[in-house]
Subunit: 284 residues, 2 copies
Amino acid sequence: MAITVETVSRMQLTADTLRREGKRIAVVPTMGALHEGHLSLIRLARKHADVVVTTVFVNPLQFGPGEDFGRYPRPLPKDIMAAADAGAEYVFAPSVGEMYPEGFQTSVHVEQLTARLEGAVRPGHFRGVTTIVAKLFTAIKPHVAVFGQKDAQQLAVIKRMTVDLGFHVDIVVGQTVRERDGLAMSSRNVYLTESQRKEAPVLYQALSLARDRIQQGEFRRATLVEEMRAVISGRSSASIDYLSVADAVTLEEVEQLTPGKDVLISLAARFGTTRLIDNIPVRP
Amino acid sequence: MAITVETVSRMQLTADTLRREGKRIAVVPTMGALHEGHLSLIRLARKHADVVVTTVFVNPLQFGPGEDFGRYPRPLPKDIMAAADAGAEYVFAPSVGEMYPEGFQTSVHVEQLTARLEGAVRPGHFRGVTTIVAKLFTAIKPHVAVFGQKDAQQLAVIKRMTVDLGFHVDIVVGQTVRERDGLAMSSRNVYLTESQRKEAPVLYQALSLARDRIQQGEFRRATLVEEMRAVISGRSSASIDYLSVADAVTLEEVEQLTPGKDVLISLAARFGTTRLIDNIPVRP
């Protein structure tokens, strides 16, 4: 069984004790509704630390108006069991009031990296992400934090924030876990209707095509984007938010790829009201 | 002698070692040019911790265009000696490049509290302050941080940031140290010409008058401000930036004081190009 911690002060005292004992602490931040993707991150965290803390907190700050904060799934007892089974000793599950008490007015902001892609479509989203991650770092005092490749821009932004503010935390990346048909696992997949669910693997098919075409020597962004668009439009009813071929570090769009210089192929698309994202890192 | 530390990674390793030994760490953040006010903070820090780290860093982020970043005094060897004499074991004196390496793009921002007083006159100033203080906290991992009452709004903003981001750090306040004629000690006092220096105690005289008048029962902000203005204008050539009678916690102006509810009487004024601030907390 995992120990559930609900307050910051209790979490900090626990962290202080673990550190005095020389234990290495890993944190796996999540919004709960744990699926195999999250569980793979917890198992990865175990390899990097003596003690794993999984956090379960649906962070209101990173949802925009009209987004799915209210209906986001919150199966906490099930999450606690699943986290423990995967190897977490602690589940940090604070209330919204515990994390954002009255009078709260501080935010952590990463500038350029958040202006593009998800940041452009979801204003304020990454400010909410970096603020809560900074707070999770001060609460849990981890040596290591594990994030999934699935949220590639979030990963880049959190790496930047960690370096810039000097948090003494190693960032470890877990690969995206996919369903058998290629759909990236996401807590939001449950929103899909049966027919949308059947179409959704088209996103990974488009990304895979772009990766294959790059490996065949197609280095022009415009062509890659056009081919991805044709796949998605031809095989689904999805409405595309963006298709991106970007520098893997700065996330700036790259018109012409350079051999050896990593890029991130990423996209966001909507099936009805459900918005999904996915990506593949590629070395041309 | 104090040990001088110039890199974040070295400072973090030192902090980790001290914490494993069960030592309590205090930090006294300064921009150097140490005077008796700073030294009193270092002595105060000693009472709250086993090990005192004084930081000396002239933080470019908290200076606006046209402010005195370039000419701010930087007598580092003298500062290191003075800090050691006052009881600091470590002086953390990083370069600008160490704190803000290329690509740096993250900031910490406190919203409402920074909109008034100094924040209104110096846009971006407090964002620079909270960003560097957050970075000093992650570098030094202190149990306690000591700040002076002299920068009253900075103190309120840092307290807010510390609570909001959940830094596990106690904030301790050191009283303002004054010259014999009442002028608050400041590294910027060296900019004053001889005749400006003679006029400068008028600021404390005005604040003291307001305190005395409150204690006599004068609870109207407008009257208190008018009387302070008359003192400063009557006895000096200073140009007043602001005169404030504000709630001690929110820093919002208070039109009518309430018995028992703490206020902060504060002001900023310029003698030529030299800008000075001062304040007195008062319980009506």
